[in-house]
Homo-oligomer: 691 residues x 2
């Protein structure tokens, strides 16, 4: 059951696809209070209450005990202190033996989630806008509630199948030659690869929808060449449009008034990579149609996907901000600068980026309402993604394209995926990567992954190898890093063979991962779940923070500590440990429910398959299209019977349905041996362990 | 065996107290190479090599796999990326089945320790000075090597016994009234307490050895009042001396040429809390004598200890640095600032603090040699500590005083303790706190602890409670936090009773902790050790990163994850788990060697006692002097016999010897029951578990 409660004048965020009547009753669970304009929802927490949700957010799978703020921000230092990241996913699941419900705060402004931070036994959720719709979701289980949210907010984005391949990326590939070398180095070393991301350097002076002629003299020809090497090109598109006469996007935007404006109606200027820039008002349908159509020229050139970046929107500085800083420096330059003035001045320079004042200085239009940006701040990235998705659909409605973005809001999950932002080459960020998976899935974002190896900072090879062992399972499996950091393509490292072997596991698993992804997407389910979704009565399982359920059959538990040669794992039920070294080199160990120490050398990664389940493993391939999804080896620990509902399709068409894609794989075991059947499939049951 | 190798013209750092002849042979283990002036020591690493050491450093107990730099720095953001903290402890222990040795690089300039970071199988240690003594230490065990280092570098500092009490601190206590309230709030709630730290606000305008008359109109009277409440006052002393005519310390320093100087001989000026400041040249004996004597006036007023801060030395900015920044802003203010210029400008302001150029701009004097500061940078804090310790010894040679510092170098362990620097209210910093304990102990620093609850950032009450559960064991047990953060005195929180109960465990353990500390200090041992010291043949134990050995009888393993209700623990041998809720409320569980999941509710903390060992527990008290160390309950899991060598003394005298303080506690168990004997002790054996 979903109940809707409206407060003030809710802004239409586009998150909801099913318009519900406003409930006449009072809001359950929460006590309400107003503080000036802000609206505060208060809830007592019992000692055992767990809180899931918030999608792409910091800290635990269980969000309890800290403070979070929905305020999309370009801040690349994800320490434990950070309350806001790039996205705002205002969905919470309160869970205990006595009370389980969901709450979606559909409000695009700043919301503070004090989840037992100020007071251990109290949650306080404060909407600064005070204008919002609150949806209370009640159902028989955590999974059912997450499913209800999906029905309320629409089905998740479907990427093409090749987007499950390994993608190499780095801010620093400047030319055809750079990209060509990346692809060829992977190919000649037999490191599987499906795509290369083109970061901001491919553009001409950071102008969206242009290509630097010095680096890429004929993108169409080059995309063709790369397609022959089975490598997809994935350029970046940033939110800001360079202020430059003669630059078509700028000129058209100005002529048609497509950009966000100051209060006086003149276009707002903020500085990002191209320097002084304008920001398309993506909340307007006409602006989205115009901007979305710009993607066509790159699609026509042969690219197969995009990543939308800087769309919080990031602002390095504004005209106002930098003038203020200079004025401050000017005032102080002849003073005997005291300590406190010094710190103030340093902060003026440091805090210029993403300044709250700047976000209050410009306006957008939603419907017929002109609204100050900060009131709808968290929608900017979501509607840029929508613009891109609608543009691509207009280009070819029958073909799925890859699209993922940095900034998002619930609703954007219908249009594209998200990567988990500009993380660091930190071991703790492997764990953060893992924790975000179930949280994002609950909020509808199924196609996701983190920058493997870490974006900021320098990766060590053991870090990259361990991170790849998690990345094997994330739908988006991208190795990405920042200019100026240590180069982190697999082949840069002495352990490249071990890394390559781990990537082969990914390709062996593609039939299974794609099957589980599509089943989740088409049925409104979660591919990744906290253990509590599957074992709500197991108190130990419910509090596990470093293992997550994958699909209907598996649990994952990566190693995320340097120099570790194993890790502890809690099994809520009997499971089969598969310890992979490569697609073809692995051991299987049946393990009983309970606590286990699992030995895992640096080149070994675990997968846990629930007893009674089977999963299919292909022979892998050097790219996704080379993976034969009809020739499958089954893994599992079963009794006499088992089955798996296997989903597959052409990987590209938008016209897909769950039923059309399903094939039942049935396993029967008796004294004569074990046999498996599946229509159109060649199945090898030799790796099944039977009781 | 210790072998000494000299390179270039080693600088006398004061680290070594036993002058060894220079070895004639070639350096074992390392290959040497020169890169310009720098000297590089290279060593191949086998897959199983573990590297311990580096004292107060970031990341693991096992340092392998990352890059560290000895370069003392005031940087309060201890993320995984940070290579340098406040101290430089250039001692490494290489450990594997085939090769175990120690290496002490006695060099006060910048040293880079690339311990399998660039290449997984290679350690490269680079001395920028190229002038150093290298000591290679070889012995039969890790503990013996660490003991040899102590014999080489001298015995560890002995604090007074009261310094093992709970100490409350915060940057923000401004007056007698503030401090009085802190003490009375603890007393009336029966939260044990022994001292309060006075941070920079007690001073008059941040001038060392002055007292703000507005806050403290009669420090002598106030210290007397606090002494009646059994609370010791512990003021801070910073390195920088305010440039101010009429301020005695400044005037005397200028008159006598006691400050560090620019190349031209005029005094160097850098800005710290008091604004423009001078920096005493602590490397000079006459300067130390002068500065050390300044502590007398505060000792005369009744304070019982000091903490020395800002002695890396921290530099917020220099005259040169700020002029350069202003000039840069001036040049750019009328430009159309491009992105790259903007980032450059922002960096100019951000990087002004602790700038390498500034450290190259002034000079110190060591012996008769004038030397550029950067060549001896890492000694500054150590010699300030020495100045303070020598000053206090001159004041009263028979009395131990509390002294701990932020910055240090091996050698300073003879003069004072260290706190682990300006950490954060992060769960990961509970673990970092734990990891530093054995590393610091190896390098001689026994009296240490971290800012419990975290200095920077806002603590949640569960974080503070869990952190106290580790702090119970650290010799320095100080709750400290930064101005502007959430107040984190225990009584601010709803869980204050549980926190208080945990502090009572500390007081119950004081006889044992003091005994183990003094035994380690007087015998050249380590109170805290990696498990590898005690179980070198247990490969699992050797790689444990979140448990450490405490004294001869115990192992500790704190919970350091939010919302956790237990943790995994590896027992290398049978141990007795004592699960404490308070000094008087605890359970004992005999556990077999192996992996265990231990249930630990938020208010419960574990201690593991080796089978066959006993430890004494007192009834506790509200301050250390109230703890009766002669009335002891014994805890342990024993056979028929057991014994414990208990050390105690008057807690204040400097004239102490190991033998004089030891009393044997002997336990005998038979069919008639269990009895314990110890001269002068009342022993309760009721809590002993016998086979």
């Amino acid at each position: 059951m979903i109940s809707r409660f409206d407060f003030g004048s809710p802004i239409d965020t586009g998150a909801v696809v099913r318009q519900l009547p406003v409930s006449g009753g009072s809001v359950p669970y929460f006590a309400l209070s107003r503080e000036d304009h802000a609206l505060c929802f208060t809830l007592d927490l019992a000692q055992d209450d767990i809180i899931f949700g918030l999608g792409e957010a910091n800290r635990g799978i269980n969000k309890r005990g800290h403070l979070y703020a929905s305020w999309n921000i370009d801040d690349g230092l994800h320490t434990e202190s950070k309350n806001s990241l790039y996205a705002s996913h205002n969905f919470l699941l309160f869970f205990s033996k006595d009370r389980t419900f969901g709450a979606f705060f559909d409000d695009p402004g700043r919301i503070t989630f004090d989840l037992g931070y100020t007071k251990t036994d109290e949650a306080r959720i404060i909407s600064e806008n005070g204008d919002l719709s609150l949806y209370i979701l009640e159902s028989e289980s955590l999974g059912a509630i997450a499913g209800d949210l999906r029905r309320l907010t629409g089905s998740s984005y479907l990427p093409p199948k090749w987007a499950f391949g390994y993608i190499q990326s780095r801010w620093g590939y400047k030319s055809e030659e750079d990209v060509r070398r990346i692809v060829s180095e992977h190919r000649r070393r037999h490191i599987p690869l499906d795509g290369v991301c083109m970061d901001i350097d491919y553009m001409d002076d950071y102008m969206d929808f242009t290509v630097d002629p010095a680096g890429f003299d004929d993108l169409h020809r080059f995309c063709g060449e790369m397609a022959e090497a089975h490598a997809h090109m994935i350029p970046i598109i940033d939110a800001g449009i360079k202020e430059k006469k003669g630059y078509e996007v700028c000129d058209e935007g100005l002529e048609n008034g497509y950009f966000c404006t100051y209060e006086d109606g003149t276009p707002f200027v903020g500085a990002v990579w191209p320097g002084r820039s304008y920001f398309p008002d993506f909340l307007r349908e006409d602006v989205r149609a115009w901007f979305g159509a710009k993607y066509h020229r790159l699609l026509d050139a042969g690219v197969d996907g995009f990543w939308n970046d800087m769309n919080e929107p990031a602002l390095f500085y504004s005209e106002n901000g930098i003038r203020k800083a200079f004025a401050q420096a000017e005032r102080m330059k002849d003073m005997n600068v005291g300590i406190h003035e010094f710190f103030h001045l340093r902060e003026v320079f440091a805090d210029m980026a993403n300044s709250p004042d700047d976000y209050k200085s410009f306006y957008q239009t939603i419907g017929r309402r002109r609204i100050r940006h900060d009131k709808v701040h968290n929608l900017y990235g979501a509607f840029m993604t929508r613009a891109a998705a609608e543009g691509m659909a207009a280009h070819n409605p029958d073909r799925r394209n890859l699209l993922f973005a940095r900034s998002s809001y619930i609703g954007a999950h219908r249009y594209g995926g998200v990567w988990q932002g500009d993380n660091h080459s930190w071991w703790s960020h492997i764990l953060l990567n893992l924790k975000m998976l179930p949280s994002l899935n609950m909020c509808g974002f199924l196609y996701t992954g983190a920058d493997i190896g870490g974006f900021n900072g320098d990766a060590t090879e053991d870090l990259l190898l361990r991170w790849l062992q998690l990345g094997v399972f994330t739908p988006l499996m991208r190795n990405h890093s920042c200019q100026g950091t240590r180069e982190q393509e697999i082949y840069r490292f002495s352990l490249q063979n071990q890394m390559r072997d781990i990537v082969t596991v990914r390709y062996a698993l593609i039939p299974y991962l794609y099957s589980e992804f599509m089943k989740a997407a088409l049925s409104g389910g979660c591919m990744f779940r906290p253990l509590a979704f599957d074992y709500p009565d197991d108190e130990t399982a419910c509090r596990v923070e470093d293992q997550v359920m994958l699909g209907g059959q598996c649990m994952i538990a990566p190693v995320y500590q340097q120099n570790a040669r194993g890790r502890y794992v809690y099994l809520p039920e009997d499971m089969l440990l598969v310890r992979f070294r490569s697609a073809s080199d692995y051991d299987c160990f049946p393990l009983e429910a309970g606590h286990h120490w699992i030995e895992l050398e640096l080149h070994e990664m675990p997968l846990f398959i629930r007893r009674g389940c089977v999963i299919p493993l292909s022979r892998g391939g050097q790219w996704v299209d080379a993976v034969d999804s009809t020739d499958l080896t089954l893994l599992g620990w079963i009794g006499s019977d088992a089955s798996y509902m296997f989903y597959d399709d052409d990987g590209l068409s938008t016209q897909v349905g769950l039923k059309d894609g399903l094939t039942e794989i049935a396993v029967k075991s008796n004294a004569q041996g074990t046999q498996a059947f599946g229509e159109g499939l060649t199945l090898h049951a030799g790796r099944l362990i039977t009781d």
